[in-house]
Amino acid sequence: MTRISAKYLAQRLIISYLTILVIMTLLFVLLHSMPGSFIQTMQSPDMTGEQIERLKEQWGLNEPLWKQYVDFMVNYQTGEFGWSPHWNVPVWNLIERRLPRTVILFGATTITGFMIGPLVGMYLGWWRGTKRDRSIFTGGLIAYSLPSFWIAWLFIWLFSFELDLLPAKYMRTQFPQEVYGTGFEWTAMMAMRDVLWHLALPLLSLTAIGWVGSMLIMRTVMQNVTEQDYVFLARAKGLSERKVMIKHAARNALIPVATGAIVGIAFILDGAVVIENVFNYPGMGNLILDSVLNNDHPTTQAVFFMLAVLLVICRIIQDIAYTYLDPRIKFGEEES
């Protein structure tokens, strides 16, 4: 299956790169259109004018605007995100540690959400108008409209306080020596199990809202697809209802689900930022809140940028996925 040509891929990559450049420019504009200078948040009342001047010099704010823009663009593309005034380390060091954690939580939820959502949507669309359809659909809508932190609290209350099944905080057991005895050492297996165990509740909370988006699309498309002539023909051929539903109806309904997936993915990423803070999960979402509260502009900016890049990457994956699903798309020949 060489369905995807190098040309198509190159095209997608160039478009993605341009998107990232636009995002960077927007970030730059945003930063410079904020009232005052972010230096103000670092200065104390007893600083002399000379000291403030030095601070400005240090942060490059005395350069002409175009030079600042060019520097910014070049630096960002080389992973040079500057210095965090709050943590007093290079911003990249923070990102480097936090990003994989967010990718784990967000990636895992995206996978579970996009497994559960289309599956449930398939059945609901197939059973359209029945009681089962209406009750699950309504339940999904309620979950979708509840604030994500609220669902997280609900789960913490249920699974952590009431049932005492799952931990409600952090990514690892803190102070394991206190829990497991003084001579305790982590082995790789145990560390992994510990992380998964801590991941369970955030994952569950995030999935609870993350599955609904793809379910809604799948359900609607399934309803349309069920009316299609090829579904009638599949039935006339003597296929079982199950085969008609999965092989003929759902397979086609997946195409629009894949085309619109990025909206659901962004929704999950958005939820992940909130959920991380509810669970004190030390990822990018947690970092965003800390850096905003501490007026750490370089870090805030870099986190926003990395989350945007994450979405752009997801977008590329989505494009590849739906071109595989729909044979009517001509690869690399024209963009529709």
Partner: protein, 385 residues
């Protein structure tokens, strides 16, 4: 010998209001190796009848009464020699009658699924969109073969699929194409090929040429005829176009408002129509034999089928309607006997030439007047004519 026999079939669609009476007491037969054509304007219940054979009605449709008898039974109801087992015929729990015919409307969903495509295949009305866009055309034919003959190896099924495509004039390699790479006529012919995949006894083709241009229509009809010769299948062709039917069918049934108005051999129905509706329908299509000057449409539109009035279904639009037409819908009368002066010999079974009309006593006069343009222009009320 009938392969398929409709007996007093009445079909309803549930709606929010009263049920739609999409078919009412329909009787006709499709003989072995023959082509039966169902003709009539859009909305008169042809597709409904076609779908009902395989229990493929829309979710809100149901058979209210009547039977569809099919001259075969499920494999496990037969003896080793292929005869129907006596206890199956005698036991009332099996939907099989004395002459060994099986009622398709009485099969459960698993059993009818085995009849679909294996015994009877159906080419749906808009078969242009009936190929699944995400699977290769050949694979879709293979799928049909493998459902009903799971013991057939994959590569053998693929060979058969390619053979079938070749027979309808599509190159073998095109089996690897997707539907969007096919033209409209090719898609239609691919479905015809698919219909033959399991060597069925019968093929139902719903509007096989509608929405195709004339040249492509001919090629599709050729494909149908060739398949029919080769596989010796019976066919039920459904069309609103009586001139297409004249070329293709052995017998014709003319439907109006859920009722069968006339049936007979194609020659009888086309050359000596015995029902005013058939005459009107003929005027509205170019015939093969005589080149008509102008096409005359029947004024008015087909009736909605909820709560029909107690009168001939066609009375509202019929130029020959009189008071006798107003009490009840006419039963089927023997048109042959009518030409001998006996205009009220009832004939419910599908033999000879039949017509549902109270005025067969003036049949000759109706035929003459039906050819005149003025006849179809008058909009007088029936009682004053």
């Amino acid at each position: 010998m009938p392969l398929l026999e409709f007996e007093d079939l009445s079909i309803r669609y549930r709606t929010d209001g009263p049920d739609v009476k999409a078919s009412e007491d329909v009787n006709f037969e499709v003989d072995y190796g023959k082509t039966f054509g169902l003709v009539g304007e859009s909305g008169c219940g042809k597709t409904t009848l076609g779908k009902s054979i395989l229990q493929l009605l829309d979710d809100n449709g149901y058979v209210e009464s009547g039977h569809i008898w099919y001259d075969d039974v499920l494999p496990e109801w037969k003896t080793d020699t292929g005869k129907v087992r006596p206890e199956v015929v005698e036991d009332d729990r099996y939907p099989v009658r004395d002459d060994g015919m099986m009622d398709l409307t009485a099969l459960d969903s698993d059993d009818i699924r085995r009849v679909r495509w294996n015994n009877i295949s159906l080419i749906p009305q808009s078969s242009m969109n009936a190929l699944n866009p995400v699977y290769r055309v050949g694979d879709q034919i293979v799928e049909a073969i493998r459902v009903h003959e799971p013991e057939t190896p994959e590569d053998e099924a693929h060979e058969r699929a390619r053979d079938l495509l070749e027979q309808v004039g599509i190159e073998r390699e095109r089996a690897d194409d997707y539907a969007h790479q096919f033209s409209g006529g090719m898609k239609q012919r691919a479905i015809i090929a698919m219909a033959m995949a399991c060597n069925p006894d019968m093929v139902i083709a719903d509007e096989p040429t509608t929405a195709l241009d004339v040249i492509i229509q001919d090629r599709v009809l050729d494909a149908i005829r060739e398949m029919q010769d080769q596989f010796d299948v019976s066919m039920l062709i459904i069309s609103h176009d009586i001139s297409v039917m004249a070329e293709t069918c052995d017998r014709l049934g003319v439907m109006y408002g859920g009722r069968l108005m006339e049936s007979g051999t194609t020659k009888e129905v086309i050359e000596n129509p015995a029902n005013p509706y058939t005459m009107g329908l003929q005027n509205s299509f170019p015939t093969v034999e005589e080149s008509q000057e102008r096409l005359l449409a029947i004024p008015g539109t087909p009736p909605t089928l909820t709560e029909p009035a107690d009168e001939c279904r066609f009375a509202e639009r019929c130029p020959f309607a009189t008071n006798v037409c107003m009490n009840d819908h006419p039963p089927m009368y023997d048109a042959e006997a009518a030409s001998d002066g006996r205009s009220r010999v009832q004939q419910e079974a599908d033999v000879g030439h039949r017509s549902a009309c109270y005025r067969l006593d003036v049949l000759e006069e109706m035929r003459e007047r039906a050819k005149e343009e003025e006849t179809w222009q008058q909009t007088e009320t029936p009682s004053s004519s």
